[in-house]
């Protein structure tokens, strides 16, 4: 477990080597370096996991401090890592899924000129994400937080010569920044309240220091949540995620499905002690999570770009995770995070395989009938779609069903209704995607159809592994014997004292549990059947419905005009204000002031220079006068 530092070191080494030497190395070497570093991280994470299991559940915390980073008066920030069940789950997911995506990228990005740049950024991202989840204090976590934001910008804008891509990169970074601002304020507030920013110390002191529902607790948790909203793309800071699909598809899979966007959820679960002390914040978290889940699902219904549908699906699923945290079921949120990582990465990588096979086509209306051309891609994609729709026994069913159950029992009927309706829509639009892409008659352009082919092994193998995980992954949370529940329980509620309840299902009756399962499955099947009806049985039905509900469809298709609203109310005024600040304040006022001072000096000098006549006689006169004055003065004084 001492080797925890190496889990971080290898991706960092990969970044440095590929970054400095990548241009001179051959593509295969760059790829090998990029993948091996993450592979080693994963193996080390696995061994650390085994090590952790050997300890008794209450003692499963291991901290290692490396050096004091900032020591300034009473403020101390230490570079230290913390190994406990939560961070181990996260590093396994990050390094495991990350490794598969690195392998996938070797094939996918093979023809790209920026190959070495890509792997540098990807390794840097993995390093930052691992740092985020392993940090043992708020400030170090924030470094990882910022690092993943930076890499997100670099990778979204990877093809920076394309204007829409570089715009999307900037949008992602700026919207993230808004969230980061809240996060920084929260860190400062934590320090002011607790005089420390170390996780263990803060969470130990919190129950005694803060009263339940106190203003300070609420402010800290709300500000932290602002950061999470930005990073994890919830309402109102989700607008960057659909645009982020400008980046390469493996990037979308890694950053915007499996890891970075889940950082917010991780942070909320890590700070669960603080959140439990503020019921108001928990309600805010749950409401935003639930509303986002439904809102994004409605937008996903009408999108035609295959990646955009998946992007909105991601926003929606993360809403589910926050909904779970908000009702107090933190472990369930992490469970869904893990299963979502599997099937969402699978779906994104699968769509990448489709895009690759079609030579770059992303519009679903120009696909169709790909089942026979790309059978492996189709089969793995089908598994992913079944998982996200929540069909047993795939992974998504167990986690989503548990969220709905917890929302019903610990939250209220309203929360359950939000989640259930969103689940219906999820099943519908995911199968809509599947049918439009792989079934039916082909709408492909002629030249595309001639070249369509199944993807190479380096792309297919990760798909197969993720498909396997999507099938089996759910069983770590199999109800009544939930391994993940007991593994993560000590992390919730402070471990030694406080509630160790964190989402276990002991108190729910079996009949309620099974009936909820039945309802969830029924909802999923209903969504699938509706999609089947509209896209296979009666393909002209969608057009008819669009015709009848033209206004609603237009609003949804245009994403509720949120981007346009933000542009008009926030972006344009900000740009205008900045322009005024530049032209008027900076140039006229500030520069003018400095220039005016210079001009005054100049004018005085114009006057004073008249003394410099150059006539020696004038100078002699002044010497004489000076002498006379001194004599007179001395005579007067004496």
């Amino acid at each position: 477990m001492d080797l925890i530092g190496y889990v971080l070191l290898f991706p960092l080494a990969g970044t440095v080597i590929n970054g400095l030497l990548g241009k001179k190395l051959s593509k295969s070497v760059v790829g090998i370096i990029g993948c091996t570093t993450i592979g080693i991280s994963f193996i080390l994470s696995f061994f650390i996991f085994i090590d952790l299991l050997k300890l008794a559940p209450e003692h499963r915390v291991f901290e290692k401090d490396y050096f004091t980073w900032i020591g300034s008066g009473t403020f101390e920030a230490i570079a230290g890592l913390q190994v406990d069940p939560l961070s181990v789950v996260m590093i396994l997911v990050v390094s495991g899924v990350g490794f598969l995506i690195h392998v996938y990228s070797v094939g996918y990005m093979h023809d790209d000129d920026g190959y070495y740049r890509y792997f540098t950024y990807l390794n840097l991202f993995t390093f930052s994400m691992l740092l985020l989840v392993l940090a043992n204090n708020f400030l170090l976590m924030f470094i990882g937080w910022e690092g993943v934001g930076l890499c997100s910008y670099l990778l979204i804008g990877f093809w920076f010569e394309k204007k829409s891509a570089s715009d999307a990169g900037m949008k992602a970074f700026i919207v993230n920044r808004i969230g980061d601002f809240g996060f920084i304020l929260a860190i400062m507030l934590v320090f002011v309240t607790f005089k420390t920013i170390d996780f263990t110390e803060v969470f130990h002191a919190a129950p005694e220091h803060l009263q339940m529902g106190s203003f300070v607790a609420t402010m800290i948790t709300l500000l932290l949540f602002v950061g999470a909203v930005g990073k994890s793309a919830q309402i109102p800071l989700y607008t960057w995620l659909p645009d982020a699909m400008e980046g390469p598809t493996p990037v979308s899979a890694l950053i915007h499905a499996a890891t970075m966007v889940t950082a917010g959820v991780y942070m909320v679960v890590r700070c669960n002690v603080l959140y439990t002390l503020s019921p108001f914040s928990l309600t805010v978290v749950a409401v935003i999570g639930g509303v986002t889940a439904l809102f994004a699902a409605t937008i996903g219904l009408a999108q035609n770009d295959i990646k955009r549908v998946l992007a909105y699906s991601t926003v929606s699923q993360i809403g589910y995770m926050f909904l779970a945290c908000g009702v107090g079921a933190y472990i369930t949120g992490i469970f869904h995070l893990v299963t979502h990582a599997f099937f969402k990465a699978l779906l994104f990588l699968g769509s990448g395989s489709v895009i690759h096979g079609l030579g770059g086509e992303q519009d679903m209306r120009k696909m169709g009938g790909l089942k026979k051309y790309m059978p492996t891609t189709y089969n793995t994609f089908l598994i992913g779609t079944l998982a996200i729709a929540g069909i047993p026994p795939f992974a998504g069913f167990f986690s989503k069903d548990e969220i709905l159950l917890e929302a019903f029992t610990k939250g209220s009927l309203l929360f359950w209704a939000l989640g259930a309706f969103a689940a219906l829509l999820t099943a519908f639009y995911m199968f809509r995607l599947l049918f439009m892409t792989f079934h039916g008659k082909s709408n492909m352009a002629k030249h595309v159809e001639e070249h369509v082919h199944e993807s190479p092994m380096s792309i297919l193998i990760p798909l197969l592994v993720l498909a396997l995980l999507s099938i089996l992954g759910g069983f770590i949370g199999f109800p009544a014997a939930s391994a993940i529940n007991s593994f993560l329980a000590p992390v919730i509620g402070g471990g030694h004292h406080g509630m160790a309840d964190g989402g276990s299902l002991h108190h729910v009756s079996n009949s309620l549990m099974f009936s909820m399962m039945g309802i969830s499955t029924g909802i999923a099947v209903a969504g699938i059947l509706l999609a089947y009806l509209m896209y296979i049985k009666q393909p002209d039905l969608p057009a008819k419905i669009v015709g009848r509900f033209k206004l609603i469809y237009t609003i949804i298709y245009n994403k509720y005009y949120v981007d346009e609203i933000y542009d008009a109310t926030i972006v344009k005024p900000t740009v205008k204000t900045s322009f005024i600040l530049w032209k008027v304040v900076d140039v006229k006022i500030i520069d003018g002031f400095v220039n005016a001072v210079a001009r005054i000096v100049e004018l005085k000098a114009e006057v004073l220079k008249l003394f410099q006549t150059g006539y020696v006689r004038n100078y002699a006169l002044s010497i004489l006068l000076g002498g006379v004055i001194i004599i007179v003065c001395s005579l007067i004084l004496l």
Partner: protein, 100 residues
């Protein structure tokens, strides 16, 4: 005896003549002569006081002043010659390169 006051008055008059000459005359050499005049006026004052106070200090100091005057005359005249070689004039009104 001649009252010593008269010597002092003479010294003052000579000094004033010299000072006015420095300020009014245009020729550099004449200015130098006026400077010498001022120095000699001071010499006279020193000797007067030495006589009055019956001390040799004044007269010894006169020697110093004479030496300094000589050295200064040498240097000054050398500068005037250098200027003359450059500008073909010893009119101080024409030496105004330092004018703004």
């Amino acid at each position: 005896m001649i009252p010593l006051t008269w010597y002092l008055i003479l010294s003052g008059v000579l000094f004033s003549i010299g000072a006015v000459g420095v300020l009014i005359r245009r020729n550099a050499i004449v200015i130098f002569m006026c400077i010498e005049l001022m120095l000699n006026a001071v010499n006279l004052a020193f000797v007067t006081f030495s006589r009055q106070l019956n001390s040799m200090d004044g007269q010894i100091f006169v020697f110093f002043i004479m030496t300094v005057a000589a050295a200064e005359a040498v240097v000054g005249l050398a500068i005037i010659i250098a200027i003359y070689r450059n500008k073909a004039t010893v009119n101080v009104d024409d030496i105004n390169l330092m004018k703004w």
